[in-house]
């Protein structure tokens, strides 16, 4: 994408109905859907081109989220989204499944440049307007005659809007408060791999970035020790995105086989210089005496924090060392109404986390749906739009529920977090309520009908995947865990009987269950 000349840039400073900050996958996706709903908004970005974190990371230039170009569904249909974690969503067939068109066949995981090209192409082809080179620097709130507005100070001047959506990622290096940490360097400052040749490397952190680093340095480093207080988790065992992904598991096997990699469960007390090298003083968390590990290089793979600037001072509650804003089910700041979040920051709306299963909102394949639902929510609650909600034949409700459970990409990518809902108003008959956060359904926030059903796909404590039906009637929500199925095909007679049994108490007028 050609660099914008200052005089060509859209969105001069001023007042807007809504402002989006950020031009990564989250900012582009929410802007796309806001425009589909006819909501005028400005998009501001400190970067010079679209792509967000993928303009720079992952460090070793290969993603850990896949796209399978030759899946059975054509890449332009909704069902393909199940097989494609990296494309943004669109209504137009020519804008769908774009990631697949940039992959050169060497891996089912796009390279970083392929992912960046995918996002740049989406921005260009969907004509997402962004004011690049405009850095948000400070925020304040103005109470005027027309109500409360947020004023964003930027390097180009002041912008104001009653609603701001921040899609600024989680990309600010987090440095733990360890004495001597200045002797270490952060993942974000890692040098070319060959400069670690023959070096003893200590990595602080045993999550994906720590293992990515260790994996990338295996051909170069003399020894690698990974240290953090908790044991390493592996995604193949947690059966969720919590845990080290299979792509980075090689150092774990080297450790298990005694091959020059160490894994320690310990807190790092301090880092010191020792005999011309570095030493980390460790306090094991799994018992045992304090210990010292000598290293030539110490790297913090301690993660990133959200670059939320002065929002906490304005009243935005943030949690954890990543400083992710606490959010309502609709991705609005839980403490400062009018401030919303999209992209990877939408993980701050945690959902029900049933059986400890987190949402996938930190990744593109999860948050792209959140962005669409957020745009729908803003369209209907703040901009007076009404969404068309298709009627469903009462005879088809059971089959439609099981079809969504089997095929719905939103339900599969956001297990236990997003649900497809059907409103059951006796006056109008069943209506498609779309996909909403499951927490919004069980807490009675969506859909509007007091009687309604929701279908989600969930993993239980053992990681077994099954559809779960929720029925809301007479002010109560009941949960019905449906049977699993080895190949996740839920359109079976057994499942029809189970759904029909759960819906039968609602009465035959609403849903045909026989």
């Amino acid at each position: 994408m050609a660099r914008q000349r200052p005089d060509e840039r859209p969105f001069p400073p001023g007042a807007y109905p809504l402002i989006v900050v950020g031009s990564g996958a989250g900012g582009l996706q929410v802007s796309y859907w806001l425009r589909r709903f006819g909501i005028r908004h400005a998009v501001l970005s400190a970067d010079e081109a679209p792509g967000g974190m993928f303009r720079r990371w992952p460090l070793f230039q290969r993603l850990l989220s896949w796209t399978k170009p030759y899946a059975l569904p054509d890449r332009t249909v909704r069902a393909f989204e199940r097989y494609d974690w990296n494309s943004l969503l669109a209504d137009e067939p020519e804008l769908r499944g774009l990631a697949a068109t940039f992959m050169d066949g060497t891996s089912s995981f796009p390279s970083r440049p392929e992912m960046e090209a995918n996002l740049v192409a989406f921005a260009e082809r969907a004509r997402i307007a962004v004011r690049f080179g405009c850095r948000w620097t400070a925020t304040r709130r103005d109470e005027g005659a027309a109500g409360s507005r947020f004023v964003l100070e930027t390097t180009d001047g002041e912008y104001s809007a009653p609603i701001v959506v921040f899609a600024v990622g989680v990309a600010e290096p987090f440095r733990p408060p360890i004495p001597g940490i200045e002797l270490a360097h952060h993942y974000a400052a890692v040098r070319a791999p060959e400069t670690y040749a023959g070096r003893r490397v200590l990595v602080i952190g045993k999550r994906n970035s720590g293992f990515e680093l260790a994996n990338g340095l295996l051909p170069w480093a003399a020894s690698i020790v990974l240290v953090s207080p908790s044991p390493a988790k592996l995604s193949v065992l947690t059966r969720s995105l919590v845990g080290v992904r299979a792509r980075y598991v090689q150092p774990y096997e080297d450790f298990a086989l005694g091959g020059g990699v160490g894994l320690l469960d310990a807190a790092v007390e301090r880092i010191e210089r020792l005999d011309g090298a570095l030493a980390a003083r460790l306090r094991p968390t799994d018992g045992g005496e304090p210990m010292t590990v000598a290293a030539d290089e110490i790297i913090e793979a301690t993660g990133f924090a959200a670059p939320v600037g002065d929002l906490p001072e304005l009243g935005v509650a943030v949690v954890g060392q990543a400083r992710v804003p606490a959010q309502t089910v609709w991705w609005e700041s839980a403490s400062l109404p009018g401030i919303f979040f999209a992209g990877t920051l939408s993980q701050g709306s945690g959902g029900l986390k049933k059986h400890g299963q987190p949402s996938n909102s930190g990744a593109v394949h999860g948050f792209r749906y959140n962005a669409r639902i957020l745009a729908e929510h803003l369209a209907t609650t703040a901009f007076g739009r009404s969404l068309e909600r298709s009627p469903i034949d009462p005879a088809e409700v059971v089959d439609r529920l099981l079809e969504e459970a089997t095929l719905g990409p939103e339900l599969w990518h956001q297990k236990g977090y997003l649900a497809w809902v059907v409103g059951l108003d006796p006056a109008t008959g069943p209506r498609d309520g779309g996909v909403v956060p499951l927490a919004a359904f069980v807490d009675g926030l969506a859909p509007a009908e007091p009687t309604a059903v929701a279908m989600s796909v969930e993993a239980d404590a053992a990681g077994e995947i099954a559809p779960v039906l929720y029925v809301r009637a007479a002010g109560r929500v009941t949960e019905h865990v449906l049977p699993g199925q080895r190949l996740h095909e839920f359109r079976t007679a057994e499942h029809r009987r189970a759904v029909a049994a759960a819906l039968r108490p609602l009465g035959r007028g609403l849903v045909a269950v026989d």
């Binding site: 408060p177 949690v319 606490a326 839980a334 029900l352 400890g356 009941t478």
Partner: protein, 140 residues
């Protein structure tokens, strides 16, 4: 917002974790997740499976059965353990009556955590015994 160190400092003053050495507190702060709820938000939901174990860092929660308040919990109190220990859905809603900051451990991890930290399990037993005694006093 709190780093694991700040959380470790906070929970060091809680009865539940009173016997843990510094390394144990650091592990708790690392293992549990910090969560924040706005006033009126439901944290536990009556009848829904798969809930977690929560320890309140700040704020206040109301325990409600069928919408009727049965108890109020505050800083240092914990909830969610009964349904996890019994493997049953919670029999009450827990609702934030003002902004609440907690640390949370997913249900499937609670057994392993308690077995690894018998002193925390003992403190939890003491708290459950106190609740049991209170209930018996009401009845007598």
């Amino acid at each position: 917002m709190a780093s694991p160190d700040e959380i470790a400092d906070t929970i060091a003053g809680f009865t539940l974790f009173a016997d843990l050495p510094a390394a144990g507190l650091a592990e708790v702060a690392h293992e549990f997740e910090e969560v924040w709820f706005a006033e009126g938000e439901r944290i536990l939901r009556q009848g829904l499976t798969g809930s977690g174990f929560y320890v309140i860092l700040d704020g206040e929660c109301s325990i409600q059965i069928d919408g009727v308040e049965r108890a109020v919990l505050g800083r240092g109190d914990f909830f969610g353990e009964v349904s996890i220990l019994l493997g049953e859905p919670p029999i009450a809603d827990v609702v934030a009556t003002r902004a609440v900051r907690c640390i949370q451990l997913p249900g499937p991890k609670v057994e392993g955590f308690l077995v690894d930290h018998p002193r925390v399990m003992y403190r939890m037993l003491q708290a459950l015994a106190r609740r049991f005694r209170t209930v018996n006093r009401w009845r007598s």
